[in-house]
């Protein structure tokens, strides 16, 4: 079977964790990757202690983007906001645990971008992209 689709990923794809919308929420952000049509929304409830009390995602897309989002949701439940902000590419790739080429990388990282854009209140996730990658 394809390395890219280890049981772990397929499991998250078929049975996504924390899927849905949150009400009430403190943050909500949605982004769309026009290249593949993937769409992800992430809702957060951050409490007074700046901890992510609850997180959920919705949307649709390929196995990589959906499994990635599901894994990310698992990871950030109960996480202090400061730690969420420090999450990087590596964390997502570690969760997925597979080698990912440049095109699919966009799928894999979509949820992280939505999360960060939501927290930082940016409309355009591309901005993050660019700032990150001058080299």
């Amino acid at each position: 079977m394809d390395d890219l689709y280890r049981e772990n990923i397929l499991d998250h794809y078929r049975h996504p964790r924390y899927k849905g919308e949150l009400e009430p929420h403190t943050h909500s952000h949605r982004e769309h990757n026009p290249v593949c049509g993937d769409e992800i929304q992430i809702d957060l409830y951050v409490n007074g202690a700046d901890v992510v009390e609850k997180a959920a995602f919705s949307g649709h897309g390929c196995a990589i983007s959906q499994a990635g989002a599901s894994m990310l949701m698992e990871r950030i439940q109960g996480m202090p906001l400061a730690e969420v902000k420090a999450l990087g590419k590596e964390d997502i790739l570690e969760d997925l645990g597979i080698p990912i080429g440049p095109v699919r990388l966009k799928c894999a990282l979509l949820s992280l971008k939505v999360l960060k854009a939501g927290i930082y209140g940016l409309d355009n996730i591309e901005a993050l992209d660019e700032d990150d990658e001058d080299w």
Partner: protein, 408 residues
């Protein structure tokens, strides 16, 4: 008939194996692989006779210039141009189409005029016209296509009125495979006084092309999709039109005479070739055309029809697989786009890659067409002279594997 096994021997990349599996390359609509003759032509050029062209009075430069111009003649003959002077080198079909928009378009299109484009165009034959419409105040209208991917002929006829200055459409869709009735469409465009721009990026590599018979005004195509190097393409245009056009890019080589405040342009085709051209690539393009000519474009087309017929039949039997575009191989080329259940095309492409099968997934630079069909993306397998029917079997086998993985 093509001898596919012999042809395959000419393509070094097809000799590779990854994890013991041979490469099944089904993405030639995006870019074809290169035969040794082309690879070596480029290599030999750099090793033996590279020099800047046109102005050099020494053997190397004369040899390079001759080869560069010789290639132009080969390419011009390949599409049955009336003259090699009608063949302008560009980087790719995209630049060719932009050239027409920036020159003929800016000179002849204005407010109140209409530009007609089919609704299944590649972005290369769509955005330049959107931009032209924006810059000139002209209206951009779309020739609708049917669900099957055919030009809606009555709609086209109705759209054609005296405001139409330019009609642009593909001769072969890179998504649906559709071969458009170009000759008739061109005649209709001419009847209302419009100029016809044909996107030949997919058709020129796969079909015999005769611009005199088609009677189009401009034809754009790319070298890299027809066995040639990257970085080279062509715009063919009718001489009287080209002669009346302002130049596009300006600089060295495209002038006859330059002063501080006036210029006289060079003769055709050089008026449109500014600066040091893609010399090695043009020469390689010439060799690519030689290769195709030796095979015979009728044979190339026949092989493609055989491939498509087999693909439509066998892929068509795969449960959950939906193929887009015309079902008749006679009116379609070798780009077969499909979806497979609810497996995302990106996942499908990744799965197939594991089997060393290269297909494309996405909107294939035809996003509006995908939107129109309510799709974000499709998977696309496309064929060329080196593909075999067995490779389609491999594809189907791998699809069945994907079905299992995704529990389709």
């Amino acid at each position: 008939m093509l001898n596919i096994e012999a042809i395959r021997q000419d393509f070094p990349i097809l000799q590779q194996k990854t994890n013991g599996k041979p490469l099944v390359f089904l993405d030639s609509a995006a870019s074809s692989q290169k035969p040794l003759a082309v690879i070596k032509a480029v290599d030999t050029y750099y090793r033996e006779y590279h020099a800047n062209v046109h102005r050099g009075i020494y053997d190397l430069s004369e040899k390079a210039s001759a080869a560069y111009e010789q290639a132009r003649k080969k390419i011009a003959r390949f599409i049955n141009a009336k003259s090699w002077r009608e063949l302008i080198y560009t980087r790719n079909a995209t630049e060719s189409l932009n050239l027409v928009a920036y020159t003929w378009g800016m000179q002849h299109v204005g407010p109140g005029d209409t530009i007609l484009v089919s609704d299944m165009e590649h972005h290369a034959n769509l955005i330049p016209w959107q931009q032209l419409a924006k810059r000139t105040g002209a209206a951009l209208k779309y020739i609708p296509t049917t669900t099957e991917g055919l030009i809606d002929q009555p709609a086209y006829a109705q759209l054609l009125d005296s405001t139409v200055k330019l009609v642009a459409f593909t001769l072969m869709s890179n998504v649906l495979g559709t071969i458009t009735p170009a000759k008739a469409m061109i005649a209709q465009a001419h009847a209302v006084g419009a100029v016809a721009v044909v996107d030949g990026a997919q058709s020129v590599p796969h079909l015999p092309t005769d611009v005199q018979d088609l009677d189009c005004d401009f034809l754009a195509f790319s070298g890299h999709k027809m066995l040639g190097p990257t970085g080279i393409g062509a715009l063919w245009g009718k001489k009287p039109l080209l002669a009346d056009m302002e130049p596009f890019l300006t600089g060295g080589d495209m002038i006859k005479q330059v002063g501080y405040d006036r210029c006289e342009w060079n003769a055709l085709p050089w008026k449109f070739e500014a600066g040091t051209p893609a010399i090695a690539q043009a020469i390689g393009f010439g060799y690519a055309v030689d290769y195709l000519t030796a095979l015979g474009m009728d044979n190339v087309r026949q092989h493609e029809k055989d491939m498509v017929a087999y693909a439509l039949e066998h892929l068509g039997r795969v449960e959950g697989l939906r193929i887009f575009g015309p079902q008749d191989p006679e009116i379609r080329g070798g780009a077969v786009s499909f979806t497979f259940g609810d497996i995302h095309p990106h996942d499908l492409a990744s799965m197939l890659n594991y089997h060393n099968i290269a297909i494309r997934a996405g909107h294939h630079c035809a996003q509006p067409l995908h939107d129109k069909h309510g799709l974000a993306a499709t998977a696309r397998a496309s064929f060329y002279i080196y593909n075999t029917l067995q490779e389609i079997d491999c594809l189907i086998e791998a699809l069945e594997d994907a079905r299992k993985t995704f529990e389709l």
